[in-house]
């Protein structure tokens, strides 16, 4: 027993985590926890061990095991979740965040081998979704979910059904519209070439035939592919807004009418190919702009992380109740790792609540009986009973969502460059067109009409409409590479317009999970073993961190183990009394008021020292705070101001640091900044920042794992790229400059075209050449320029 055997580090066969004990093993394979071992056993019983041959350690750690899925028997909940059901089968789509490698794919598509009642299972890897068809007479939905959980793939079932919303959003016919436009474009080109190359007298008979065919081809282009532009232009006109869709729709309409008239009256060849090309390129631009991240959701609110149902006690028996039916006065049971969905009073049990989703603070808080616990915390430890005092939608946290910031329409928070320019552009365009018409009217009515339509055709802002999507999508790609995920292309422009930055503290500039442990005591190896053995018995996160910090010590038998919630542990190991916990618990008083969490140690009545858990700031914080030269910089924290001294050097002025802010106050603070005409960027991470993120002109959620929960925002930043933020800001300004420049280029083309057009002698050939050439120039210029800008900023 004595001595210091340092065990060789073994890793879990299933998930690859370090094994802290050697006791959990089977078939000469070691596992980090019983959960992982359980998964292995299920798989080996069903002869599915190829799972482990495709990848090393494909599993996800299974330390959390006690999950309950009783609520999946409630018919109301089932009907909300499933896609389709009839007498025999049910189809359902699950979102499973753990899907990450080919082994996952392989295993999830072999579910039928584990239970033949599952007929079909198909993975969509990028969306991390699993589509299952099963016979509900043989296996219930609850059993399906339990089976998935058993093999380590617990589906994320939440109130806000992300899956269905996403599927609904992708259902527009853009691809089909592009296909039709492309098809017609190709054919019309083919039929128009003979006209351009000149035809002999003998071939003239074909001309009318080709023309009629062209009309047939442009009909679906105008009526189907381009329909969106007409609808949008009409809606905007009714709202008295002139956006870029108006001149586009005007151009398309004029092109169509003039082509038909010219062909039918045999007075010319028409502009069928220009029309098809225009619509085709415009739609491609739209397609490029629509980059979607399937695995990231920007619209999450509290509903997506609250459970679907909660267990309540009624007449001394437990039953699941959907959250929407949870009322004041219900007595609910919350087990280990479950989320408290409503403000409630603690009635029974030891509450140790982890508020990391809400505040970003990773270390759980102990609560005593009778205390009010706000919704959003995750209970760790034993099961507790609480009485609901406010319904879900009225609780301290969730009432934020009743604020008008959440009901406001999202799209037009800031006018984009395109919106601003297209107004003047349209007015100028119409002025020139009418001027040309009036100029020719007295001498030649037909020529006047020709000039009028030609101006509208040639000045159709195709290149202008394309410059933004192509630049922005290239920029989005650059950001994406650097793990900065933007909701859509408009966010790039918003990023460039920012002049005020507001930072949350916990979890945003500090690294939530990864606090650094330091041991401020001289311990012998023997003493380390004692502490390790005691801490191994505790599920408290601090104990866990200490175990990881001490590494693989030999584990000894522990007697008289006692854990006092929120205070500490006392136990006997090897006839020595070990006490570990808060300073008050160990020494009776707290003398050292240090600005960080400490765990003190006492062995056999002798005080030995303490572990300190210092939250360290994210790498590159000094770079962010250097931005205070060009931007107004604020710190907005829900915590006490203990850390003010250590943060002061970063922020400079006390006036810019705001502590003790409630979620609502955070929102109000952003509003007050905006009232001073500041363009505010909020960077936060927890649910308590949700209001501020939504209210701000640009909300960025920082997270260490993009698949994890992050509150609704415009952009999601991976914590590892936090230091790049200043570069991102500079790069976004570059891209806006590129857009301005490409606007100049497209204006030049328009001027060249106009000089032909106002004379009323625009030949179809000129239009047919000018349109694609300008498009190609713009696309190549924007792509290249964005690439070079990114290179200059060292982003690629």
């Amino acid at each position: 027993m004595a001595g210091s055997t340092i065990l060789e580090k073994t890793t879990c066969y299933h998930c690859g985590d370090d094994c802290n004990t050697v006791s959990i093993s089977i078939d000469e394979k070691s596992f980090c926890c019983n959960g992982c071992k359980g998964v292995y056993q299920v798989l080996s019983e069903n002869k599915l061990c190829s799972y482990y041959t495709y990848n090393d350690h494909p599993g996800a750690s299974r330390e959390r095991i006690d999950k309950r899925f009783d609520y999946l028997n409630e018919p109301t909940i089932i009907s909300e979740l499933i896609d389709y059901t009839d007498q025999e089968k049910t189809i359902i789509t699950f979102y499973i965040p753990q899907i990450h490698c080919s082994s996952c794919l392989w295993l999830l598509e072999q579910l039928n081998k584990i239970n033949p009642a599952i007929h079909y299972s198909r993975v969509d890897f990028l969306k991390k979704q699993l589509n299952i068809r099963f016979d509900h007479r043989q296996i219930s939905l609850q059993q399906v979910v339990e089976l998935l959980d058993e093999i380590g793939y617990e589906p994320l079932i939440s109130l806000q059904d992300i899956i269905k919303e996403q599927n609904a959003a992708t259902k527009d016919n853009l691809v089909s519209k592009i296909a039709v436009a492309g098809f017609c474009f190709g054919n019309v080109m083919l039929l128009s070439f003979p006209e351009y190359f000149g035809m002999s007298v003998a071939e003239r008979s074909f001309k009318y035939f080709f023309g009629l065919l062209n009309i047939l081809f442009i009909l679906p282009v105008v009526c189907y592919s381009a329909s969106g532009y007409f609808i949008s232009a009409w809606q905007n006109l009714r709202n008295k807004v002139l956006n870029i869709d108006f001149p586009l729709a005007l151009g398309i309409g004029v092109l169509f009418i003039r082509s038909v008239v010219e062909i039918v009256t045999r007075s010319g060849a028409g502009f069928a190919d220009t029309l098809c090309g225009l619509v085709f390129f415009l739609l491609v631009g739209k397609f490029v702009q629509k980059k979607t991240y399937h695995h990231i959701s920007f619209e999450r609110d509290y509903r997506s992380f609250f459970p679907v149902a909660v267990q309540i006690i009624e007449n001394s028996s437990e039953r699941p109740v959907p959250l929407s039916q949870l009322h004041t006065g219900h007595r609910m049971v919350i087990r280990h790792n479950e989320i408290i969905p409503a403000d409630a009073i603690l009635l029974k049990g030891e509450a140790l609540v982890d508020f990391s989703f809400v505040t970003g603070e990773a270390i759980p808080v102990g609560k005593t009986l009778g205390e009010i616990i706000y919704a959003g915390g995750r209970q760790t430890g034993e099961a507790i009973e609480l009485e609901v005092i406010k319904p879900v939608s009225q609780s301290y946290l969730t009432q934020l969502w009743n604020n008008e910031a959440f009901t406001r329409k999202q799209d037009n928070r800031m006018q984009t460059f395109n919106d601003k320019v297209s107004k003047y552009f349209t007015i100028a365009l119409l002025t020139i067109a009418f001027a040309a018409f009036l100029f020719w009217l007295p001498t030649d009515f037909r020529r006047g009409l020709a000039a009028f339509t030609a101006v509208l055709i040639v000045a159709c802002p195709c290149a202008l409409a394309l410059s933004t999507p192509f630049t922005m999508s290239a920029a989005l790609g650059v950001f994406d590479r650097n793990r900065f995920y933007l909701k859509n292309t408009a966010v790039v422009e918003q990023l460039a317009a920012i002049d005020t930055i507001v930072l949350d503290k916990t979890g945003t500039i500090t690294n939530g999970s990864d606090s650094r442990i330091e041991l401020k005591a001289d311990l012998t190896i023997d003493q380390k073993q004692l502490i390790y053995s005691v801490c191994m018995n505790s599920a408290h996160p601090l104990s866990r961190m200490i175990c990881v910090f001490l590494g693989n010590e030999e584990r000894r038998d522990v007697y008289n183990y006692k854990e006092i919630t929120g205070k500490g542990i006392s136990a006997e190991v090897n006839f020595q009394k070990v006490r570990i916990g808060s300073e008050e618990f160990i020494r009776g008083v707290s003398i050292m008021l240090l600005p960080f969490t400490q765990v003190h140690i006492m062995i056999d009545g002798k005080y030995l020292g303490y572990f300190s858990f210092i939250q360290h700031y994210r790498k590159g914080l000094e770079k962010i705070t250097e931005l205070k030269r060009d931007y107004q910089l604020h710190l907005l924290s829900g915590d006490q101001d203990q850390e003010l001294p250590s943060l002061l050097p970063f922020f400079g002025f006390k006036a810019n640091m705001h502590f003790n802010q409630s979620p609502q106050q955070k929102l109000d603070f952003i509003q007050s900044l905006q009232a001073n005409r500041n363009k505010v960027m909020m960077i936060g991470d927890g649910l308590n920042d949700s209001g501020a993120l939504k209210q701000s002109d640009l909300g960025i959620a920082v997270t260490d794992n993009v698949n994890n929960f992050s509150p609704g925002s415009d952009a999601i930043l991976d914590g590892a790229s936090f230091h790049l933020l200043p570069v991102f800001l500079r790069f976004s300004r570059d891209t806006v400059n590129i857009i301005h420049f490409s606007f100049l280029i497209s204006l030049t083309y328009n001027l060249i075209g106009l000089s032909y057009a106002i004379t009323g002698k625009l030949s179809p050939l000129t239009a047919a050449i000018l349109m694609p050439v300008s498009t190609v120039t713009i696309i190549s210029f924007t792509s290249l320029a964005t690439h070079f800008a990114a290179k200059r900023r060292k982003l690629i």
């Binding site: 190829s50 969509d124 890897f125 969306k127 691809v175 071939e203 074909f206």
Partner: protein, 53 residues
């Protein structure tokens, strides 16, 4: 030269067939997930229990 009428008819018909094929593929969801099949094809068909590693 009248053969051109026939030829153009043929070419348009052929192109329409391709367009139709594309629409069919789009409707039946073949373009919904363009990534997973590339991984799926690398996995072996269900075989007897492979030798343990």
């Amino acid at each position: 030269m009248s053969i051109l009428y026939f030829l153009i008819g043929c070419s348009v018909l052929l192109a329409l067939i391709f367009l139709g094929a594309f629409f069919w593929a789009q409707r039946s969801g073949q373009n919904d997930d363009l990534y997973t099949p590339s991984m799926r094809m690398l996995l072996d068909e269900a075989e007897e229990t492979p030798p343990e590693k």
